[in-house]
């Protein structure tokens, strides 16, 4: 897979950065041919993953670091959201819709990531943090970046 662009963000685990991360990734992704609804879906997926790192991974501690890495090929966005938090004990269970370890929450974060992206992969272990990898193709596969108008 040949990347035409890559970027990395590192920011503190504070809730205001959820908006920062999704807007930054969507702006980055818009370099290839996504539709506006595609970009909205990417924003939801990023919000869910980054929100999870803050709430679950770091238990809302505001002084930890969340990393977001994004890369573009001509027709695909790959995103990696990474924390060094508590990790997930049972990944299959965590991925089930409506499963949450917090009664106040709906347990739909992974369901949204799964529905809105083409692939979702979770690497995690208790005490070892969590890495969520997602990718999404553009509908047409046609790109404007680097081509003549």
């Amino acid at each position: 897979m040949r990347f035409i662009n890559q970027m990395k963000l590192e920011f503190l685990s504070i809730p205001a950065n959820v908006a920062f991360a999704r807007v930054a990734v969507a702006a980055f992704a818009s370099q290839i041919d996504y539709t506006l609804p595609d970009l909205e879906e990417i924003k939801v997926a990023v919000s869910e993953a980054v929100g999870n790192s803050i709430i679950h991974g770091y238990g809302n501690a505001p002084d930890r670091v969340v990393k977001v890495h994004a890369a573009l090929t001509m027709d695909t966005l790959e995103i990696m959201v990474e924390d060094e938090g508590i990790g997930i004990e049972d990944i299959d269970k965590a991925l089930e819709p409506a499963f949450s370890t917090d009664d106040e929450r709906l347990g739909l974060g992974f369901m949204f990531m799964h529905s809105f992206m083409d692939s979702l992969q979770v690497d995690s272990a208790p005490g070892r943090g969590t890495v969520v990898k997602m990718s999404k193709r553009t509908g047409t596969g046609v790109t404007r970046i680097g081509t003549e108008q």
Binding site: V18, K43, S47, L106, F112
Partner: protein, 112 residues
């Protein structure tokens, strides 16, 4: 996010706009709980016409208020979510428990 509350008889209209995510979820929950504690509210109308983004943190806040209101025999509905917000509400199942109306007037007529 912007938030505006208006009590019309026993229905609380909650007008929201902007991006609703984890960054505002706690604040939104606190304001709504405070408002429901302070005055007699039977029904809730969430006017989402101005909302450009929601994630699951905020859906949790909406569902929590739904539980409180429906426990007391009230109804909760939503007004005019934009397409991307509508999609999220639908996927989450919230539209199966909260009716959707094109405007506040329709909502008020149908809820009372």
């Amino acid at each position: 996010m912007r938030l505006d509350l208006e009590l019309i008889q026993d229905t609380l209209i909650v007008r929201l706009s902007g991006d609703l995510d984890l960054g505002v979820a706690d604040y939104l929950r606190d304001v709504l709980e405070d408002s429901l504690d302070r005055q007699p509210v039977k029904n809730l109308v969430f006017n989402l016409a101005g909302v450009s983004f929601v994630d699951s943190s905020v859906l949790g806040v909406l569902l929590g208020r739904y539980k409180r209101i429906s426990r007391n025999g009230g109804k909760v509905c939503v007004v005019k979510p934009q397409p991307q917000v509508h999609r999220i509400l639908e996927l989450s199942g919230l539209l199966r428990i909260m009716a959707e109306f094109p405007g506040e007037t329709d909502a008020l007529e149908n809820i009372g």
